[in-house]
C-alpha cells in the first residue's frame, strides 16, 4: 500500500523536520559512525572561534573584569573561581550532577596565524604544524575508527550537507542528512549507479545517494510506531541532535557535527547568545534523546582557537589562542575543571594578548578515546594524533 513511501520520507516525517534542519547555514554536517562496545563519543566542532572566557568566566581572576568591561557580568557559579555564562542556565544542573566539565585553558598546536579556516583544518585533521600531504584529507576521528577492529564500515554513516574533515579518511564513511528525496525509475537508478561506480570522484557520494534514497519502508508497522514516538526538540539544532541521539541508541557509537556562529567581533554580549542557545539545545537534546545511554556517552565541544583576552574596540573580541574545551555526558567524571588556569596578568598571557594554553586539546580527546574504546595510548599517539605527547591521564571518564 505504501510502496512509494520510502524510509527517508518516513524518517523525515517521524522527526517532523524535513529539509530545514539540513538547510540551515548555521548547522553543518552530522557524521555518524558505528563502533563496537557500549560507549558513545560525540564531537561537536564549534566553528568561528568560541570565546572560552565568556562561556566559562574566571570571576575569581583579579584581571578578568578589567580586561572585559562589557563581558564580565555575573554568571552561574560553578566553583569558587569560575562561573557559567547565564544563557547556559539549562546546563547548570548537569554540572551539579557531575555530567559537565571543562578544560579552561587548552588549544590545538596551531599558533599565531589565527585563521579560522586553517585553524579548523588543524582541529579536524588533528595534526601539528603544516598538514603533511598524506593527512590533508583525513580526520582524527576517522583514523581512530581504523584502530577499532570490529567497526563495521558499512553501517557507519554520516549525515549532513557539507564534507566534514574530522571524519574523512580510509575508514569508509557514508554521509547523509535526513529529508532528501529522489524519485527515479529503477532503470535510471541502475544506469546512474553504473556511471557513478566508474568514477572515483563520484562513486562514494553517488552510490550513497542512490542507496539512501532507495531504501524501502519496513513492511511491518512496529518499527514505524516506535520511531514515531521519537519527539524532536524545537528548532533545527534540537532536531538534528535528536536525530543523532536516535542513531546513537542504535548501532552508532561515534558522531560529529558542527555549530557555527561564534565569530563575535562586534557586540559580543548579544552576538554570542544564539550560538550559546544552539550549543545548549544540542547537549540537552542529546541527553534527553539518549535516555539510559547518556550514562555511556561523552560529548566534547571544541573550537579552532580562543579569542583575545581584552575586548576589542567594538565590545567584541578578535581571534586569539587558548580557550575552553567543554565536556558533557553521563560517562564523564564531571563537575570539575581539568588542567589548571594560567592567569590573566600580562606576563601570563600568550603573546601579550591571548589566553596561554596549558595543554594540547588533542591530549584530552586522545585520553577520552583511550578510556572509552580501550585503545592504547601509543596507538593514539602514532595513528590518531601523530607525534602527540599524551602526557598524564587526566581521567576524564568515570
Amino acid at each position: 500500500m505504501q510502496q512509494s513511501l520510502s524510509r527517508r520520507r518516513f524518517l523525515t516525517r517521524s522527526l517532523g523536520f524535513g529539509c530545514s534542519a539540513a538547510a540551515s547555514p548555521l548547522l553543518t554536517p552530522v557524521t555518524l559512525a558505528a563502533a563496537p562496545g557500549d560507549n558513545r563519543l560525540v564531537v561537536i566542532i564549534l566553528r568561528g572561534a568560541m570565546d572560552g572566557l565568556d562561556l566559562l568566566r574566571p570571576m575569581g581572576d583579579p584581571q578578568f573584569r578589567a580586561l572585559r568591561p562589557t563581558l564580565a557580568g555575573d554568571g552561574l557559579a560553578l566553583d569558587n573561581f569560575f562561573a557559567l555564562h547565564p544563557a547556559l542556565d539549562g546546563l547548570h544542573p548537569l554540572w551539579q550532577a557531575g555530567e559537565l566539565a571543562f578544560a579552561p585553558a587548552t588549544s590545538t598546536p596551531y599558533r599565531d596565524r589565527r585563521s579560522h579556516f586553517d585553524g579548523q583544518d588543524h582541529l579536524e585533521a588533528g595534526t601539528a604544524g603544516p598538514l603533511p600531504p598524506a593527512l590533508q584529507r583525513t580526520g582524527w576521528l576517522n583514523r581512530m575508527l581504523t584502530l577499532l577492529p570490529q567497526a563495521d564500515a558499512r553501517t557507519a554513516f554520516a549525515v549532513g550537507r557539507e564534507r566534514m574533515l574530522i571524519l574523512e579518511g580510509q575508514a569508509a564513511m557514508t554521509q547523509w542528512a535526513p529529508g532528501t528525496e529522489l524519485d527515479l525509475s529503477p532503470q535510471s537508478r541502475l544506469l546512474l549507479g553504473y556511471l557513478f561506480a566508474a568514477d572515483p570522484l563520484f562513486a562514494e557520494a553517488g552510490l550513497t545517494a542512490l542507496d539512501m534514497t532507495g531504501m524501502d519502508l519496513p513492511e511491518d508497522g512496529e518499527d514505524a510506531d516506535s520511531a514515531m514516538m521519537a519527539q524532536p526538540a524545537a528548532g533545527d539544532t534540537g532536531a538534528l541532535a535528536a536525530y543523532v541521539a536516535e542513531q546513537l541508541r542504535g548501532p552508532t557509537r561515534i558522531a560529529s557535527f558542527s555549530l557555527s556562529g561564534w565569530d563575535t567581533h562586534y557586540n559580543q554580549a548579544r552576538a554570542i547568545l544564539p550560538a550559546l542557545g544552539r550549543l545548549q539545545d544540542a547537549i540537552l537534546t542529546l541527553r534527553a534523546g539518549l535516555g539510559p545511554d547518556w550514562g555511556r556517552t561523552t560529548v566534547l565541544a571544541m573550537t579552532e582557537f580562543g579569542r583575545t583576552l581584552r575586548e576589542n574596540g567594538s565590545t567584541g573580541t578578535d581571534h586569539g589562542t587558548g580557550g575552553a574545551l567543554l565536556l558533557a555526558g553521563g560517562a564523564l567524571r564531571g563537575g570539575r575543571m581539568f588542567g589548571g588556569w594560567p592567569g590573566l596578568a600580562e606576563p601570563d598571557m600568550y603573546a601579550g594578548r591571548d589566553l596561554m594554553p596549558l595543554r594540547d586539546i588533542r591530549a584530552y580527546a586522545g585520553w577520552a578515546m583511550r578510556d572509552l574504546f580501550g585503545l592504547s595510548a601509543s596507538d593514539i599517539a602514532r595513528t590518531v594524533f601523530p607525534g602527540l605527547d599524551m602526557g598524564d591521564n587526566p581521567r576524564l571518564i568515570l
Binding site: 547555514p25 589565527r114 554521509q175 544506469l191 553517488g206 574596540g313
Partner: protein, 452 residues
C-alpha cells in the same frame, strides 16, 4: 584526449550548447572577454537601489518603533519586494552565464565574487551579493587588481560584513573621547584571504598595524562610503617595512597601502594559485602558477595579464577534466546544452524560481545570496560532491529533462552537451534509458557532465 575546443568550452567557459560554437582555444576565449565585459544584460538590481531600500527599511523601522500602525505592513511589502529582486537577480545571472558567447568573463566574475566573498548580515542591508558584484567587482575584472581590491575593501557591503565600520583608532578623536578601539576582522581577512594568502608570511603585528591603518573607513546608508578622519588612527603606521599615515590622516594612506599590497609577490602567488586551482586542477602545475605570478608582476598587477598567462600555458590544456562544476555552473551548463529559451527562465514567477532554481541550489550546497564564510566556497573538486548534494543534482537534472519539451534523442544530445568529453560508458547508458527524457536527465546527472 579531449579536443581543445571542448576543453575551452567546458574548463574555461559556460559549457557546450547548440547555439554556441565552442571557442577554438586560448585566443578565442581571450577575444570573447572584451565583448562579454560590455554585456550587462539581463540587468541585476543596482547597488543604489539596494541602498535606497535600506534607507526605506531603516525609516520604516523607526516609524514602527514610534507606534505607526501602518509601518509593519509597509515593511512586510518592502521585504517581499526585496526578496523578489533577489530572485530576479538569480534568474538574470544564471541566464548571463548560460547564454554568454563563451562564458569566460562570467566564470571569472563568479571566481572574483567568491574571492571577495560576503553576504548580508541581519540588518538593514539585505540581498546584496549580486548588486555588490555588479558595483564593485565586475567593472574591474579587466583592469589592475589594485582597483578591484580597493573597490571591494572600501565597499559598504564589505565594511559591514567584516565589521570595519565598528573599528575606531584608539588614539583618534572619537577613540579617545569614547574609549573605543580596533576591530581587526577586515584587516586579517584582507591579508589572509584577499591579498597575501595565509602562507603569505605576515604576523599578528602586521594584522594589528593593518587594522590601525584601516580605521576611518566606514559608510552611512544616506551617503554610502565615507572616510571619517575623527575615527582614523593618527601617526605613522609601519607595515612590511613601509611607513604609511601621518598627519593629517587621509584616505590616500589606505589606498597607497592597498596599491602596495596588490603588487607584493605573495599576492601574485596567492592569486595565481587560486585562479589555476579554480579553472584547471586542485593541484595545478607549479610552472603554470609561477608563469602566471611572474606575468602578473611584470604587468604591474594587471589582471588580464594573469588570465592570458594562464590561457597561454600548455599545462592549462592538459586533460582530463578534474574539477567539478559548481551547482550554479551546472545549472547554467544544463540550460545552455538544452538551449532553454532565456525568456522561459526570466519569466519564472516567484514560486517557480524558488522551486526550480533557488531551492535546488540550496540543496546542492550553493544557496544564492549566501557564502559559508569570508573565505567563500571551497574550490576543491570533491567539496561539492556529497551524497545529498549529488542527490539534489540528480533530482534537478531529471526534473529539467522532463520539463523541457525536446525531440532530442539522448544519442544526439550527448554530442551537443559533451562532444568528445563523453565517456563510452555514458554513451551506452544514455542510449539504454527507458525514455528520451530519462536519457537526457542521465547525461546531465552523470559524472561526465558535472566535471569541468
Amino acid at each position: 584526449m579531449i579536443s581543445k575546443p571542448t576543453l575551452a568550452a567546458i574548463r574555461f567557459g559556460a559549457g557546450l550548447g547548440p547555439d554556441h560554437a565552442p571557442p577554438h582555444g586560448a585566443a578565442a576565449l581571450w577575444d570573447s572577454l572584451d565583448r562579454e565585459t560590455a554585456r550587462t544584460v539581463p540587468p541585476v538590481t543596482s547597488w543604489d537601489t539596494r541602498l535606497a531600500r535600506a534607507i526605506e527599511r531603516r525609516d520604516l523601522r523607526r516609524l514602527r518603533r514610534d507606534g505607526d500602525a501602518d509601518a509593519q505592513e509597509a515593511l512586510r511589502l518592502l521585504n517581499r519586494s526585496d526578496r523578489d529582486d533577489a530572485l530576479a537577480d538569480l534568474r538574470a545571472t544564471l541566464i548571463r552565464l548560460a547564454t554568454a558567447e563563451t562564458g569566460f568573463f562570467e566564470r571569472l566574475s563568479r571566481f572574483w565574487s567568491n574571492h571577495f566573498a560576503l553576504q548580508a548580515k541581519t540588518g538593514t542591508l539585505r540581498f546584496l551579493r549580486a548588486p555588490y558584484a555588479e558595483d564593485a567587482l565586475r567593472p574591474h575584472l579587466q583592469g589592475p587588481f589594485a582597483e578591484m581590491l580597493k573597490a571591494a575593501i572600501l565597499h559598504p557591503a564589505m565594511l559591514d560584513y567584516l565589521d570595519q565600520n565598528r573599528s575606531v583608532g584608539p588614539a583618534s578623536r572619537a577613540g579617545r573621547r569614547r574609549g573605543r578601539g580596533l576591530n581587526e576582522n577586515l584587516a586579517r581577512e584582507l591579508l589572509e584571504l584577499h591579498t597575501l594568502g595565509v602562507a603569505g608570511g605576515y604576523s599578528q603585528e602586521d594584522v594589528t598595524q593593518m587594522a590601525r591603518l584601516l580605521t576611518g573607513l566606514t559608510y552611512t546608508l544616506d551617503d554610502g562610503f565615507s572616510f571619517r578622519p575623527n575615527i582614523a588612527e593618527p601617526g605613522i603606521i609601519e607595515i612590511f617595512g613601509t611607513r604609511y599615515g601621518g598627519r593629517p590622516v587621509t584616505l590616500d594612506h589606505i589606498l597607497t597601502a592597498l596599491d602596495d599590497l596588490a603588487l607584493r609577490p605573495e599576492t601574485a602567488q596567492h592569486l595565481a594559485t587560486k585562479l589555476a586551482r579554480h579553472f584547471i586542477s586542485d593541484a595545478p602545475d607549479p610552472q603554470l602558477v609561477a608563469h602566471m605570478a611572474a606575468s602578473y608582476l611584470n604587468a604591474k598587477g594587471d589582471l588580464p595579464a594573469l588570465y592570458r598567462a594562464m590561457l597561454e600555458h600548455p599545462a592549462a590544456w592538459d586533460g582530463p577534466l578534474s574539477k567539478t562544476r559548481a551547482p550554479f555552473e551546472m545549472m547554467a551548463a544544463s540550460l545552455r546544452a538544452l538551449a532553454v529559451d532565456p525568456a522561459t527562465i526570466l519569466g519564472l514567477s516567484r514560486n517557480e524560481t524558488r522551486r526550480f532554481l533557488d531551492g535546488p541550489l540550496r540543496l546542492m550546497g550553493e544557496p544564492h545570496e549566501e557564502v559559508p564564510s569570508p573565505a567563500g566556497y571551497s574550490d576543491a573538486a570533491p567539496a561539492w560532491i556529497t551524497p545529498q548534494a549529488l542527490a539534489a543534482r540528480i533530482d534537478w537534472a531529471m526534473g529539467l529533462a522532463q520539463l523541457v519539451p525536446t525531440d532530442n534523442d539522448p544519442r544526439d544530445f550527448i554530442e551537443i552537451a559533451l562532444a568528445d568529453a563523453a565517456s563510452d560508458a555514458l554513451r551506452r547508458a544514455s542510449a539504454g534509458a527507458e525514455t528520451r527524457a530519462q536519457g537526457i536527465g542521465l547525461i546531465l546527472a552523470a559524472p561526465d557532465f558535472n566535471r569541468r
